[in-house]
């Protein structure tokens, strides 16, 4: 499998994403924000976490206009698998590939800790290697992760099972206490309508090696590989 990882000025999780994506033997292609074409054989693209363009104006607002993003949008529109992690998720909402927006955490604090998320839909390119309701322990690190969208969008996401991950307690309950940032419906990750684009605030690449303290994030990368095999 061939996975592209985009680096924007200010990305800081690109190397971690490259590491995690290569664990199953996939070939990783480093993509640069100024690139105006993609390698032809790409199976998936990852927009990594970080602070692209210093988070100026709004998170993801400037990165969205990088030359590479037109390629990413075209790739996604043709059905290519795209995953945005943290800042990557923010970029995907800014460019319209995913609905809603990510705004300042409800408690105004930067949240940097392990959280628990429940797999709400295992029939996706990003979760097919785990069963529904599996609870994963994955770190978050963000100041703007409160998912918000008009109520009709939230209803549509829920009805179409496009909420992929939800913040829960270690026991798997989606209580307000388990919500680290005030996201509506404890939403941690969502899919686009076609099912080939996912954004999530937790960092699966930071839970991909025993040295990380958790390898629960590996399932996301394994699932992407499975979906393409």
């Amino acid at each position: 499998m061939n996975i592209g990882v985009v680096t924007f000025p200010g990305s800081n999780c690109n190397a971690d994403a490259e590491f995690a994506a290569a664990l199953d033997g996939s070939t990783v292609h480093r993509l640069w924000h100024k690139d105006t074409s993609l390698p032809t054989q790409l199976d998936a693209i990852i927009l990594p976490g970080g602070f692209s363009y210093g988070d100026y104006l709004r998170t993801g607002a400037i990165a969205r206009f990088s030359p590479i993003m037109q390629e990413v949008i075209d790739f996604a529109k043709k059905g290519g698998v795209v995953m945005g992690i943290c800042n990557g998720f923010q970029i995907l909402t800014e460019c319209g590939l995913l609905p809603g927006a990510l705004i300042r955490n409800a408690n105004l604090s930067f949240a940097c800790k392990d959280v628990y998320v429940r797999v709400e839909n295992s029939n996706t390119s990003f979760t097919n290697s785990v069963t529904k309701n599996t609870v994963l322990r994955i770190p978050i690190a963000h100041g703007e992760g409160r998912y918000t969208a008009p109520s009709e969008v939230i209803e549509e996401l829920e009805a179409e099972q496009r909420v992929v991950f939800r913040y829960v307690t270690p026991a798997g309950e989606d209580s307000p206490e388990a919500n680290p940032n005030g996201s509506l419906h404890n939403i941690a990750g969502i899919l686009n309508k076609a099912g080939n684009v996912m954004g999530l605030m937790p960092h699966p690449e930071r839970a991909s090696d025993p040295l990380n303290g958790s390898t629960d994030g590996l399932s996301v990368f394994t699932s992407i590989a499975l979906s393409r095999s």
Partner: protein, 91 residues
């Protein structure tokens, strides 16, 4: 061609909880200013616009607000234009 200064204000939509505003409001109340409430915090952007007339300048700024300066999912914007008169001009 005329030169305008645009004063753009971007703020969170009313329906969205403005947590910064709430926190500042609590701070004001703790400073014994209970008469102050409904604090909303936004951004102020100032920019120069070259346009043949005010209508065209408005269009340009509106376009910039829609495409980049605000995110319509979560923010509202407003702006005012001020025509800049060249200083030191000799009649």
């Amino acid at each position: 061609m005329k030169t305008y200064t645009a004063h753009v204000t971007v703020s969170l939509r009313r329906a969205i909880l403005d947590v910064q505003g709430k926190t500042v409001e609590r701070a004001l109340h703790s400073l014994h200013m209970p008469a102050l409430s409904n604090v909303r915090i936004g951004k102020y952007v100032e920019l120069t616009v070259q346009a043949p007339d005010e209508d065209r300048a408005k269009e340009l700024v509106d376009d910039a607000c829609k495409k980049l300066l605000s995110n319509p999912v979560m923010e509202d914007y407003s702006f005012r234009l001020e025509e800049r008169v060249a200083s030191g001009a000799v009649a």
